[in-house]
């Protein structure tokens, strides 16, 4: 038996934080925790993974893994599970993680809990907490299987440094080019382009209080810091500070990100209708009576031209 496996989320050798979160949390369950990494030239990642308690680092290094593709990754992982028989395999709930997890669990005819926000694995059984109905309810799911499989939401577990052995296990490459059925013709990395408003996890919007393009620029800086999208109330759109496609509200776009930051937006119902289902709402407005404070989790009564720069500094700390 090969304990708990954490499937490493990396791109071009950069490991995403959620991997360390999973490594840290898995230590709590007593079993040996190892990392599994697929890629091209990724053997050097082992020490970094060992810092968070990885006992072993299974490395599958081949050209076919240079970029994520479902077919090759599934073939490789299936072969490794058959060979090493881990008790549990955890993936990050990212685009790649959930794609891989769903397909491999079906291939092995196993159950899978996705997007979990709490996990407990013992005696070949996993109990996971999932948020359902867009966070309006929680479900505890029992996953029995060999191995237990789940995908974990980023940011829910603490990262704890703990030295692990980090023993590199170079595994035989079981996947070939014939396993690749998706022709990835192009990868367009997000550089400056912000995510689409309706799909973004973070949306920062500016309103009349931005007073002009300078105010909107501050909102944009804040959004970029969180990988968020930028939106605006009708006043900002009307004044020409942002294009029509950025309007959030009844007659614009309806968004429901995890975090919505409303800067200089008073929050008329026409705007609220487009964003009030956001999970967390932060509002910055000079008018203490602004209705936006009625829906915000944190409402800062202040001048956005002073608060946002300070906030950017604070977040960068």
């Amino acid at each position: 038996m090969a304990g708990t496996w954490i499937f490493v989320e990396q791109r071009n050798g950069n490991i995403r934080k959620v991997t360390f979160e999973m490594l840290s949390e898995a230590q709590k369950w007593g079993d040996e925790v190892s990392a599994v990494v697929f890629g091209k030239g990724v053997a050097g990642l082992a020490p970094e993974l060992a810092k968070y308690g990885a006992a072993k680092v299974y490395v599958a290094d081949a050209d076919v893994f240079a970029q994520y593709n479902t077919g090759a990754f599934v073939a490789q992982l299936a072969a490794m599970i058959a060979e090493y028989k881990p008790n549990a395999v955890l993936f990050a709930h990212t685009f790649n993680g959930r794609d891989l997890a769903a397909r491999i669990s079906q291939k092995l005819e196993l159950g899978l809990a996705t997007d979990c926000i709490a996990a407990e694995i013992s005696a070949g059984k996993g109990v996971f907490t999932r948020s359902i109905y867009a966070g309006k309810a929680l479900a505890k799911v029992e996953v029995a299987g060999d191995p237990v499989m789940a995908t974990i939401r980023a940011g829910v577990f603490e990262v704890v440094e703990k030295a692990g052995a980090g023993e590199v296990v170079n595994v035989a490459v079981a996947a070939t080019a014939a396993d690749v059925y998706q022709n990835v013709k192009e990868f367009i990395p997000t550089v400056s382009a912000r995510p689409e408003l309706t799909e973004a996890d973070v949306v920062c919007s500016g309103g009349r209080g931005c007073k002009g393009p300078e105010g909107i620029a501050l909102v944009e800086q804040l959004a970029d810091l969180m990988g968020g999208a930028v939106g605006g109330s009708r006043a900002a759109i009307d004044s020409g500070w942002l294009g029509h496609e950025y309007q959030v509200g009844q007659t614009g776009k309806v968004v429901n990100p995890t975090l919505y930051v409303a800067a200089g937006i008073s929050g008329a119902i026409q705007h609220l209708a487009g964003m009030s289902s956001s999970k967390y709402i932060v509002a910055i407005n000079t008018d203490e009576e602004a209705p936006i404070f009625g829906v915000s989790d944190v409402g800062a009564v202040g001048d956005l031209f002073k608060v946002i720069p300070a906030l950017i500094d604070e977040l960068k700390k």
């Binding site: 980023a154 932060v282 001048d303």
Partner: protein
């Protein structure tokens, strides 16, 4: 080319969730087509309008009332429906199995489905179906083009987006930005009444997972309004963003 669209009937996204006898109560809840699936239905109909698809079949697994979701899809312009009667408690594995069986009988060239359901949010079923059928799949498509027996999509990926091409038959899961679903006209609703909907029993498959407990999250703390120096306000917000909303900061 035959296109098959999977739809799930879910709670209205504004519905108030309450527990009754330890389960999520559906009393007084308006049921809708999962908004992500609605986009898939629209895409199927557009393929037909473009002359690429010849028939759009809508399939839903669930309780008998899920036929309303099928009817809505038919009113939008799909051609016929299949209701797979299945316990709503069936897990993703059992649902994928039941749907895959119907799909293999219907033998479409393309299966479209929303990439996630608004209720359980699990985003597994389309991918699982592709695996059962041994078909390629593309997840979270934001564009779709069909040509020469291949489907090409822009889709969301970690750290960016990518363009993926797969050979048909394939399963494609859709993102909401793919299109704007139409509002069914009365003409559509009238025509939908005459369109056939078959009902089949789901293949009996054991679920692999089990929900052992439902609960409601602790009531969100009442919003707080803070005043003071900009630096203090910034601290307060930063603390909330990092520790409560748990947003990753790109430094």
């Amino acid at each position: 080319m035959k296109v098959l669209v999977l739809v799930k009937q879910t709670f209205d996204t504004e519905a108030k969730i309450e527990l009754k006898d330890g389960k999520i109560s559906d009393a007084g809840i308006n049921m809708i087509i999962n908004p992500y699936d609605e986009v898939a239905v629209e895409e199927g109909i557009r393929l037909k309008e473009k002359g690429i698809a010849t028939e759009v079949v809508v399939v839903s697994a669930g309780a008998d009332k899920a036929i309303e979701a099928i009817r809505t899809a038919l009113a939008m312009g799909a051609d016929r429906g299949v209701l797979v009667q299945q316990d709503v408690a069936a897990d993703e594995f059992a649902r994928a199995k039941a749907l895959a069986k119907v799909i293999s009988e219907q033998a479409p060239s393309l299966v479209l489905a929303g990439h996630v359901a608004a209720d359980d949010g699990s985003s597994q079923v389309p991918t699982r179906i592709a695996e059962i059928l041994g078909w390629p799949h593309i997840n979270v498509a934001t564009t779709l083009e069909i040509a020469d027996g291949k489907a090409t999509c822009n889709c969301e990926a970690d750290g960016g987006s990518q363009v993926i091409e797969v050979a048909l038959p394939a399963v494609i899961s859709t993102q909401v930005s793919l299109n704007e679903p139409r509002y069914p006209s009365m003409k559509g609703i009238m025509q939908a009444k005459k369109k056939p909907v078959d009902t089949v029993a789901a293949e009996a498959v054991e679920s692999k997972t089990k929900i052992v407990e439902f609960s409601l999250p602790a009531a969100k703390a009442a919003g707080k309004k803070v005043t003071g120096e900009p630096a203090d306000l910034a601290k307060e917000i930063a603390n909330f963003i990092k520790n409560e909303a748990k947003i990753e900061i790109k430094k």
